[in-house]
């Protein structure tokens, strides 16, 4: 199993899944033409990863996505559901979701995601200067 790293583009986020420190990071806007094509390898990676890690592993997941278009948000929802399932199975999964102060759309979006989930989901505001 190797780390998953995907470079950021204008319409896709940075993906940094670090298996050594068990930290998953998704940062950036997401509005690719074909969201499923972009997220499919990420789903596959996550599926395999979740089967390989042992139960005690603390998995930290970091999101910072100022804009997610409709089809990307479906994919993000699917990612979150995979994590939710892992959590339901007893794994230690925690999500930190960052959003910029004043970016109410991003906050609303995050809140919508949070609504359907049971796993720890922390909303953290970033100062605009950061």
């Amino acid at each position: 199993m190797e780390n998953l790293c995907i470079e950021q583009t204008k319409s896709t986020p940075t993906i940094q899944f670090d298996i050594v420190n068990n930290k998953l990071r998704i940062e950036g806007q997401s509005y690719p033409e074909n969201a499923f094509k972009f997220y499919e390898p990420i789903f596959n990676w996550l599926d395999q990863y979740l089967t390989e890690i042992d139960k005690e592993t603390v998995l930290e997941i970091y999101f910072h996505m100022p804009y997610i278009n409709t089809s990307s948000s479906k994919c993000i929802m699917m990612l979150l559901e995979k994590m939710e399932n892992a959590y339901q199975e007893g794994r230690k999964v925690a999500i930190e979701w960052y959003y910029n102060h004043e970016d109410e759309a991003a906050l609303e979006c995050a809140e919508e995601f949070k609504e359907d989930l049971m796993l720890p989901f922390e909303l953290i505001v970033l100062d605009d200067d950061e």
Binding site: Y67, M77, N100, A106
Partner: protein, 609 residues
Amino acid sequence: MSKVTSDQNIMYDGSTMKVVSFACIIIVLAVVFTGSISYFITRNAVVDKLKSRDLVYIIESATAKIDGRIARARETSLLLARDSAVNEWVLSGEKNEQLGKYAKDKLTDMAQSYDYVNSFIVSVVTGNYWAEEGRLLQRMSEDNADDYWFYETLKSDKAVSLNIDYNIGRDNTYVFLNALIGDLKHPSGIAGVGLSLADIAKEFTEYKFGESSALWLVDGNGKIHLADSVEQNGKNLNDFMPAAVADQIIADTNSQQTQPQILEYVNAAGETVDLAYKRTESTDWKVVLQIKRSESIAVLKTIKMNTAIASLIAVLMITLVFYLVSRRIANPLKRALLLTQKMEQQVKARTSELAESNEKIMDSIEYARLLQESILPTSEELEDVLGFYFVLWRPRDIVGGDFFWVRRVSEEKSLVALVDCTGHGVPGAFMTMAVNSALKHIVEQNHTEPAQILSELNLQMKQILHRNHQQSFRDDGLDIAICAIEGHSRLSFAGAKLSLYVRRDQEIHTIPGDHKSIGYKASPETLTFTSQSWDIEAGDQFYLVTDGYIDQNGGKKNYSFGKKNFTTEILAQQEAVACQAAHFETVLRNYMADESQRDDITLLGFSIR
């Protein structure tokens, strides 16, 4: 670029030849310059050597030869005159037979053995002149002018006197060395030898220096007694050089000079002539040597020729080298240029291909837009259902997944919907066509309640989109807001992820839709929606908007426009609904600034009549 430059122009641009020509000119100048310098240096050296050494050497040799010959003759004369036997014989009045034989033998021996034309003993006692071979030639007489030399010599008190006699008949000059016999005060006679200058002439010719050189022995009057060319004998210096030069030589009587005098003059033909002369030690005669400058420096012609040949060879070699080098150097450049040109042409060709195929696609999409526009309600239909209204329909890619829809169900009831299908562009447009048919179908089945319509739509879209249960990650669906307007008094709303915004005076009422999307795999077939009711008052303004407007990024921090800004803008409207389109468009455009449109955007505003 108007025209493609031809290969020829690149391959044969003039710059290479210009460089080569320039280099050749420089080199020719350099070779000619150095050649000229070496020519002048060599010429000066040659002339200098000629004047300081060659001419001096020849003139000194020739002079020494003459002086040596005369000195030897002087000694011979002295030997003869100082012989006591000869003196006794003369004093005896040539009576003593024994002494006479000795003296006559000696005379003969002198002339024959030592190469003199003449030897003689003249007695004062008898006046007899004994010549070579012991002949008695004549008797001296004071009356005879030819014998004048004899009496003058006797009075000279000098042991040896030199007498030069030019014989017209023989065309020859004779030099006589006359030695006094016995006491110098009272000599008993004169003995001596005579030598012919013609004898020296042979040696003179050995000094022939060049074709134009001339070596002369001249007397105090400039008369040539001896020349390396026999025909010049008896002529005068004046015949061979300007009178002024000849006079200068003749007038130079400084007997102290031991060094040859060197001078040069230009003759009547304009040629430079170098000249050297020296006075002999034994006589006031001078040896004169002259030669044309052109002949002395004839060797330089070879240098000239060699320089010219060297220049020519150098130029040829350099031209060749430069040509080869410049070809080697210039070739990669030329190739690069050619390559660039070819690539430019290819890029042009590709670009035009792309432009062509782009044009085709654009034509196709433009046509698709016509089709998509055809499912949109006409302004008459909109006006009929909505009364006053405005609509902004901005698909991101000409066509898109957004569309709006109205339907009059009955006299009292009509429907208005705003739909945002997943995807943009052509895929989105396909979805809208399907949703449009589904809505039509649902209404035709007498489903006219908003919540009911959405449930039906979910069911039908799932059937359409996922009927063959593909395992692919494709998962499509739609967000929708739908209102049923009943008369002018009541509006019922149901939404799937989309909300209804109502402005009443200075307040915004947001009527949120359900948090459920339609048609996705995750949307269960049993999905139900809630209808919410709104009692319409005069002046109520209703807004339906897809997330494209609210999520559009821009502003200073490049955030999404946001719901708050949107509701603020609704409240900021001063004009009637029908006139608000331009305002919302301007607000959006200003917020976007240079950012591109993220999503399809549709905004529908209306106020029931």
